[in-house]
Amino acid sequence: MSQYLAYSITGMIIFALGLHGLVVLSHILRKIICINVMAGGVFLFLISVAARNFDEFPDPVPQAMLLTGVVVALSATAFAVALARRIYTVTGQAELIEEDEPS
């Protein structure tokens, strides 16, 4: 059992928590936050898994993916919020609920 595994497993647990929130919660903003929580888990996994190939330096490829991923996640979140606002403007509600009665 090596040290990086503790971080990787934590990352996976965070990912599953975010996934659970994404499926269960209906408010769009909450869903966006859940996707970010999931991304946090993946980032923790990537940065810890870089330590598996430690030579003179840890594996630079997962680190590079993480680095760009953080900025891309930030901008994707901003885009998602713009979409959410558009949905709110058009429909007047910010929840994704199952339609029980035909509208």
Binding site: A16, L19, N53, V71, V72, L74
Partner: protein
């Protein structure tokens, strides 16, 4: 139609229990897969180490980002560009000039901004330069500079909403464009698409990184400033619901 406040995040008991179990199952499955991984693996560390001499920089992460896997970084800068384009499309505008500005700040905040903003520009420039030999580079530098832009805007300055449409679009695309220019030049010489000559690799990387920093900074600032709740006339009339 139920009002937005009425619908809370209350869960139906059986389905939520089921979903919780399913997610716990996914977590266990992922953890089991992780434990299966061998501790020492033939990753890309060895390969990167062998080619560090030809990369033009001294830091392996920068070498991967801007040289070995430059294609990846290029497209990620493209993703940033698409996010900002998507946002502007939804808001039906091509720049942020019509956005309402924050009220003028009180003197203390103004003093703080005068102190902080030059520091942020300086830190950003240093991070960019540091990418050559240590942790740092375009993405970190761009985000610090972008945060500076947001700070300026919060204090009532125009920030990125002060740019004219043409300048705004130029700054947004200069990072993607610099990659494109290198690729175009290489295609003309029928070389590999993002292949830098070893002797000039360091310089080319620094130029591309500087351009990418500016683009990332403007993109991040524009995305955050563009999301501010500004009520304009075209927002007040919702589209016909179908």
């Amino acid at each position: 139609m139920p009002s937005p406040q009425k619908v809370t995040d209350q869960l139906k008991a059986p389905s939520s229990l089921l979903l919780g179990l399913a997610c716990a199952g996914i977590a266990l499955f992922l953890i089991a897969a992780l434990i299966e991984l061998p501790d020492e693996a033939l990753g890309l560390t060895e390969l990167s180490k062998q080619h560090m001499d030809e990369s033009g920089v001294e830091h392996p992460v920068t070498a991967v980002l801007l040289n070995f896997r430059a294609y990846d970084t290029w497209l990620e800068v493209g993703v940033l560009l698409m996010a900002v384009m998507g946002m502007l499309l939804f808001q039906r505008r091509s720049d942020l000039r019509d956005i309402e500005r924050m009220p003028a700040p009180d003197p203390v905040l103004n003093w703080l901004i005068q102190l902080l903003f030059p520091m942020m520009v300086l830190v950003s420039g240093y991070l960019l330069w540091m990418g050559k030999f240590s942790s740092g580079g375009a993405f970190q530098a761009g985000v610090v500079l972008g945060a500076g832009g947001v700070l300026l805007w919060l204090a009532g300055h125009p920030s990125v909403s002060g740019f004219s449409g043409r300048l705004f679009r130029f700054l947004l695309t200069v990072g993607f464009g610099s990659f494109l220019l290198v690729a175009f030049y290489n295609v003309l010489l029928s070389q590999a698409i993002l292949d830098y000559p070893v002797a000039y690799a360091g310089t080319i990387i620094l130029i591309i990184e500087a351009a990418a920093t500016i683009s990332i900074a403007v993109t991040v600032a524009a995305l955050i400033i563009g999301l501010q709740p500004v009520i304009r006339d075209r927002d007040r009339t919702p589209l016909e619901p179908h």
